[in-house]
């Protein structure tokens, strides 16, 4: 479970750590493990080699030692070469001192010529105890060897078989001048002919022959020692150890072969060879570090090179990964920006690899999207323009007909002056409506157009119609969309005169502050005292005003037409409101933003193509 959750976590990691982990898993760790295995195998093969080789060397050395010891063991037999000496040894009683001293002279002389001056240079001294007599010959002066029983370990009258025994260093008090290390060979001499004990011979044999054997063995720095089966050290490359008991040897797992200590501090290779004959063990102990000294250098260099390589390759790898992941990061950021509607982004690319291709594709994709949006937008704007144009262009043919009929009637009555006035007014109105290139016009122009219209209607309906226009701001300064007042006034006249005798229309224009944002806006109020709108119709109208202005409407409703145009041009904050009471009258309020002549002039300079910008800037 743990592993799975870890893996899942791993899946969610960023690309950079992921790639670095995979890189380490695939290269650094296997390399390190491989290196470790190779090194430890190599070390253990060195160990094994040394472990197999050293016991063989030890065996050879041990054989040399054996040869020497065997030679040593033959030394006592030299006594039998002299019948005279054997004869002396057979003596038990002496009548005179001179006879005793003469015999001592004979034997000492023999020992001296045979063992000290003539024979083996390693012999330090020879002692012969026979029937309470001590004969001796030594090459160095000595102390600690007396005829009394205390001076040697087994006493004088020990029972001893034929075979010789070796007294190891420090088991006896005998010491030679200069304190050379020696072993003492002790052997009972038997009178083979009479089958009696002749005495006991002790030969002190210097151990420096071991020194040369050890030196030959000890090419490495290590300890070499020879010990007996009780672990008593017979000889040691460190002379201070001679004669001590080697306690550790009790724990040794084998007596022939090699083994390694598993102690962290003292990692030693110990090789042993034990002789079946004597039970002596020749041992060598080497620090493994001595063996692996040369390899350690190689190992350290390899480790350093490995670390440098890992660092370099990791560095390169990080750069590479960074090169891959950082454009992706930037891409993600830019995508978020695009998400919020900002298409003005550009991902800079340098490389031509997959990441570069991705950036190029992204850029081209964003540009394409931008273009598509632009195209769609233009189409929509054009459609709107066309629509607006159509709406603006609507001049009521009814009005034309009635006006022309009135003009005809006036001319028939021969009131030429009124006829001319009416034709002039109509002409002005027509010209105003034809010149609809400008969608926004100054309030003054719109108001004068209304005045013209109302004047014409006044001429037609005479006293049934009265009107008043109140301008509470500089009508030259502010601009409004064309034809927004006329359809409302038209409505008032149409419905008012249908049902009642006389009607008064009031048009008020003023500047107010918006209660919502505190900004200024223009309010147009068209008031009449007509019959009002019945409740059913009022509800229908109000519903129509709230609905989406872009949906095609029944053009016959002038009110809705005007409202739609304002909403489309300035946004839904602006528009038209109706309040009406039956038989009391109707009030229509139109709110539009304050558009000064400066603003219109600056917009005009930008030209036709920036129409959409006008709209958006107005709406702000």
């Amino acid at each position: 479970m743990n592993m799975i959750s870890k893996f899942l976590k791993f899946k969610n990691y960023r690309l950079m750590p992921k790639l670095i982990i995979i890189y380490s898993l695939l290269t650094v760790i296997p390399m390190a493990i491989l290196g470790y295995i190779a090194y430890s195998q190599y070390i253990s093969s060195i160990e094994k080699q040394a472990g197999e080789y050293t016991p063989l060397l030890l065996e050879q050395a041990h054989a040399n030692i054996h040869n020497q010891i065997d030679e040593l063991k033959l030394l006592p037999n030299l006594i039998y070469n002299s019948n005279q000496v054997v004869g002396v040894l057979r003596e038990e009683f002496y009548q005179t001192n001179s006879a005793l001293l003469h015999d001592e002279f004979v034997v000492n002389n023999f020992l001296n010529t045979t063992y000290i001056s003539g024979g083996n240079p390693n012999v330090l001294g020879v002692f012969l105890i026979s029937n309470n007599r001590l004969f001796q010959a030594t090459s160095k002066s000595y102390s600690g060897f007396e005829l009394d029983a205390s001076s040697f370990p087994f006493g004088q009258d020990f029972e001893w078989t034929e075979s010789e025994s070796i007294i190891l260093p420090k088991q006896i008090s005998l010491e030679f001048e200069g304190n050379p290390q020696y072993i003492l060979l002790m052997k009972q001499l038997t009178d083979y002919d009479n089958r009696k004990k002749l005495g006991t011979i002790f030969i002190a044999y210097e151990l420096n022959f071991l020194e040369s054997i050890f030196e030959k063995l000890n090419s490495e720095k290590g300890d070499i020692w020879l010990m007996n089966d009780q672990g008593r050290v017979i000889y040691h490359s460190n002379h201070e150890e001679i004669g001590n008991i080697h306690i550790e040897s009790n724990d040794y797992p084998i007596l022939n072969g090699s083994f390694r200590t598993l102690n962290e501090n003292e990692n030693k290779l110990i090789s042993l060879h034990t002789s079946d004959e004597t039970g002596w063990t020749l041992a060598q102990s080497i620090y493994l570090s001595e063996l692996t000294q040369r390899t350690d250098m190689v190992r350290n260099v390899t480790i350093i090179i490995f670390i440098i390589l890992v660092i370099i390759s990791l560095f390169l790898f990080v750069i590479f990964v960074w090169n891959v992941s950082s454009p992706i990061y930037r891409l993600v950021k830019l995508m978020k920006k695009v998400e919020t509607g900002d298409f003005d982004v550009d991902l800079p690319t340098k490389s031509k690899d997959e990441v570069g291709l991705l950036a190029i594709s992204f850029n081209s994709m964003v540009n394409k999207i931008k273009d598509l949006i632009k195209e769609n937008y233009h189409i929509e704007i054009k459609q709107k323009d066309a629509e607006l144009y159509a709406l603006q262009s609507q001049i009521n043919p009814h009005f034309m007909y009635n006006t022309l009929e009135t003009i005809g009637m006036v001319i028939e009555e021969d009131d030429q002056e009124t006829g001319v006035k009416m034709v002039t007014l109509l002409g002005r109105m027509l010209r105003y409506s034809i010149s609809n290139k400008d969608r926004l016009v100054s309030i003054e122009k719109e108001v004068s157009h209304i005045e013209d219209y109302l004047t014409i209607q006044k001429i037609r309906f005479e006293d049934r119609l009265t009107f008043d226009i109140q301008k509470e701001l500089e009508t030259e300064q502010y601009y409004i969309p064309k034809f927004i007042i006329q359809p409302i006034v038209e409505n008032s006249i149409k419905y008012g005169l249908e049902r009642i005798e006389g009607i008064h229309i009031l048009v008020k224009i003023k500047k107010i502050s918006n209660p919502l944002n505190g900004g200024e806006e223009i309010l147009l109020v068209i008031e009449d005292n007509g019959p009002g709108i019945d409740t059913e119709r009022l509800i229908y109208l109000k519903k129509e005003l709230k609905s989406d202005p872009t949906i095609k409407k029944d053009g016959s409703f002038g009110l809705i037409n005007v409202h739609s145009r304002i909403v489309m041009t300035f946004g839904s904050n602006y528009g038209l409101q109706i309040t009406s009471l039956e038989s009391r009258g109707t009030v229509v309020r139109i709110t539009i933003p304050c558009i000064t002549s400066d603003l219109v002039a600056s917009n005009l300079k930008m030209g036709e193509s920036d129409n959409e910008k006008d709209i958006s800037s107005y709406s702000r």
């Binding site: 380490s24 898993l25 039998y80 079946d276």
Partner: protein, 352 residues
Amino acid sequence: MRDCRISLIIFALLIVTACNDSEETKYKVIYSGESESEEQMDTPVEVKNSITKPATVAIVPKVVNIPYFNAVEKGAMEASKEFGVNVIYAGPNIADSKQQINIIEELIEENIDVLAVSANDPEELLPILNKAQRSGIRVITWDADTETEGREFFINMVHPETLGRHLMDTLAKHTNEKGDYAILTGALSAANLNEWMHWMMAQQEEYYPDLNLIEVIPTDEDPNKAYTSTLELLEKYPNIKGIIGNVSVAPPAASQAVTDTGKIGEVIVVGLSSPSQMREYLNSGAAQVVTLWSPKRLGYLTVALAKNLVEGIKPYDKQYIQGVGPISVMDDEVIMGDPIDFYIGNVDEYDF
């Protein structure tokens, strides 16, 4: 961070396994030479098993109750104690091969491992020795040999040539290399005695032309017969200058006869005999020098070699035998050592 943790886990695992190792044992054996030595140890164990029942060695001398063979018996018994082998010592009352055959016949029935014989006759004993071999007994000879097919090896005390020539030298030295002499031997059929005599005569012909052998008299190792033979000899040849006793009973008998006839100093007595038998005559001057080896040592050696034979060790040249010293071996003949001369100065050192 992540890979850090992974590597830490790996390290931890390595350390843990390493720790486990060190807990199990203090040492790790790399190479063991033990197996070889174990094999070597096996063989002695088997040998020990086979000799848990101590080996039985039968020693058959030419004759019993003469000092020489008594000394052999002492040596053999000492070795028996030393090596832990059973020793049966049995021989005829007179040096006769027929009686020896009867004794061997009885010994074959006694479940012995080794039969060591000092043969009175090299040929007559062959059938019975072969019979013993067929019943699984290892046969060796000592002191006096048989034909080679009758035994595995022969333990000789001294080299026959050395001994024979040396005996002649001692006689020549004391007779000033001239005059008549006679030899008293044991049984005329005894191989070793005849061989010694052969070398005595060879030495005399080679170096001592003035010496003259007048008679060889068999004594059958009987002291009485030797004594009477000497008396007859002295009577028969008044000018005789020397007597060589070729067998251990002869020199004492001859010395006694010389003493009894008042011819001390006139007739030189040399030969093979033990110090204890000759001490009196050497001191009185009736005998000048006798030569021998230690019969105790011979008995001891015989038992030692018999025991080795049971354990599968055949004697080899320069082998060091515990309690005896080095031996030399020529073909199938073991030679114990060199002869010892006993004279008035050293005869008291020896107790056989």
